[in-house]
């Protein structure tokens, strides 16, 4: 069967790609569009390393088909920093040492950004529940939660 020809918006830019039906959005991002920031930890929706937003909604890109996203807006970790200027979340993750191996980090950052867009002043409880679908084998989560709280405070100051 012929490949699907898809046009979508990725990090604000129009993109076109060809994909097979079985290819996931994560496959397309990493292997076709060379956006390798999104990671594959499990390919089953459990770890959140592949988190992106689709029309503003946080999803696991491993559970979206590439051919589903025609006309849709996708935001990935590559769209987070503005040139050399890190997003406050990225900056705070560094300062709080909220990462070790870093595999989970793009997913945590994308998910945390989606949280702060909806809830600028989240409680620790809200942060932990919102991020329950992001797994980290290294940090023990506390530093991640502190970094998100701190970034939220920075962003509220503007």
């Amino acid at each position: 069967m012929a490949k699907h020809h898809i046009e979508a918006i990725v990090n604000g830019d129009p993109v076109e790609f060809l994909c097979d039906t079985e290819e996931t959005l994560l496959d397309v991002l990493r292997d076709t569009l060379n956006l390798t920031g999104s990671k594959e930890g499990c390919a089953s929706g459990d770890c959140g390393a592949c988190s992106v937003t689709l029309d503003g909604r946080l999803v696991c890109s491993c559970l979206v088909l590439g051919c589903e996203v025609g006309g849709r807006r996708i935001e990935t970790i590559e769209g987070m920093a503005e040139g050399e200027r890190l997003h406050p979340l990225q900056q705070r993750f560094l300062e709080h040492a909220a990462l070790q191996c870093g595999i989970c980090t793009p997913g945590f950052l994308v998910a945390s950004k989606a949280l702060l867009e909806r809830t600028p002043e989240p409680t620790e409880h809200e942060i932990r529940y919102w991020l329950a679908g992001n797994l980290c084998r290294c940090t023990g989560y506390d530093k991640i939660v502190s970094a998100v709280k701190d970034a939220a405070a920075t962003m509220r100051k503007g």
């Binding site: 079985e22 929706g45 329950a132």
Partner: protein, 286 residues
């Protein structure tokens, strides 16, 4: 593997009815894509129903609410009014997976995946929700408790899809609740789930009730005896004990690493009682 995303219900039904090989409807994909990846299913045709407006909308209808089968958990939660009228349905839908899963998972998918442990199904059954199906012979309505026949077995015929669910009009002093037991707080499959919906008369006596239990039998159960046990009462201790006994008697669970038969039966009784108390409390203040 072919992929189609029709924009009408008729288009989806025509594609599914005409297909010769294995077909699958695609809603949020949070079950389907996992199963495809694990080689449990290998469809020849996938029909994505998310571009059909009817499956994606929430509308008021004859005093009740019609919820499209492909509305996501996140959209249900954000709806300004549903949560007040059907807090149990919304809390059940919002227990499905993580934030990411909520962004995609749908009520139609949760039901049609055919798991006896599906979290939103006991809440929908307790609510008296009716599924509207569309197929080659046209449309028909089926109470949610009649959709699932057993694990992975549905009453849907070839070419049929669920288009939407209708939640009935709500009398005053009515509410619902859903509780599940899992060994941790998030991201796990229900060992037992219990949904209760009830209405009170002016004096605070229960005038109507529906009780549903998940993960304690081959399909999600509507337990009429449990509802009868509390109708006419104010959920005093004796009524609570009758409710527990009826819930216990309805259980035909499996024994597995997630819970023994005895444990599941005990927990079903406790959750049914607690869900009824929460629903009662909500109904009093609604």
């Amino acid at each position: 593997m072919r992929y189609e995303a029709p924009e009408s219900v008729e288009g989806a039904v025509a594609l599914l009815s005409a297909a010769t090989g294995e077909t699958r409807v695609l809603a949020g994909g949070t079950d389907l894509l996992v199963q495809m990846r694990a080689d449990v299913v290998d469809p020849d045709l996938i029909v994505d129903i998310k571009r059909i407006a009817e499956t994606r909308s929430i509308t008021e209808e004859r005093g009740g609410w019609r919820i499209g089968a492909a509305v996501t958990g996140a959209e249900l939660k954000e709806h300004p009014r549903l949560k007040k009228v059907w807090p149990g349905v919304i809390e059940a839908a919002n227990l499905i997976g993580s934030t990411q899963i909520q962004g995609r998972a749908t009520l139609g998918g949760n039901l049609c995946n055919g798991s006896p442990a599906a979290d939103s199904v006991p809440a929908l059954i307790a609510a008296g929700a009716v599924a509207t199906l569309a197929g080659p012979q046209g449309r028909r309505d089926l109470p949610v408790e009649d959709v699932m026949l057993g694990p992975r077995k549905l009453a849907l015929k070839k070419g049929e899809i669920i288009v939407s669910f209708l939640l009935p009009p709500r009398p005053p002093r009515s509410s619902d609740a859903y509780l599940r037991f899992i060994p941790r707080t998030e991201m796990d499959i229900a060992v037992v789930g219990a949904g209760v919906s009830l209405s009170l008369d002016g004096s605070g006596t229960i005038s109507g009730a529906r009780v549903s239990l998940g993960a304690v039998a081959a399909r999600v159960l509507l337990v009429q005896e449990a509802a009868q046990a509390i109708i006419g009462s104010r959920l005093d201790l004796a009524a609570q004990q009758r409710l527990e006994a009826a819930a216990r008697a309805a259980c035909r669970p499996i024994d597995d690493k997630r819970g023994t038969i005895e444990f599941r039966t005990d927990v079903a009784a406790v959750l049914a009682r607690r869900a009824a108390l929460i629903a009662l409390d909500r109904a009093r203040t609604s």
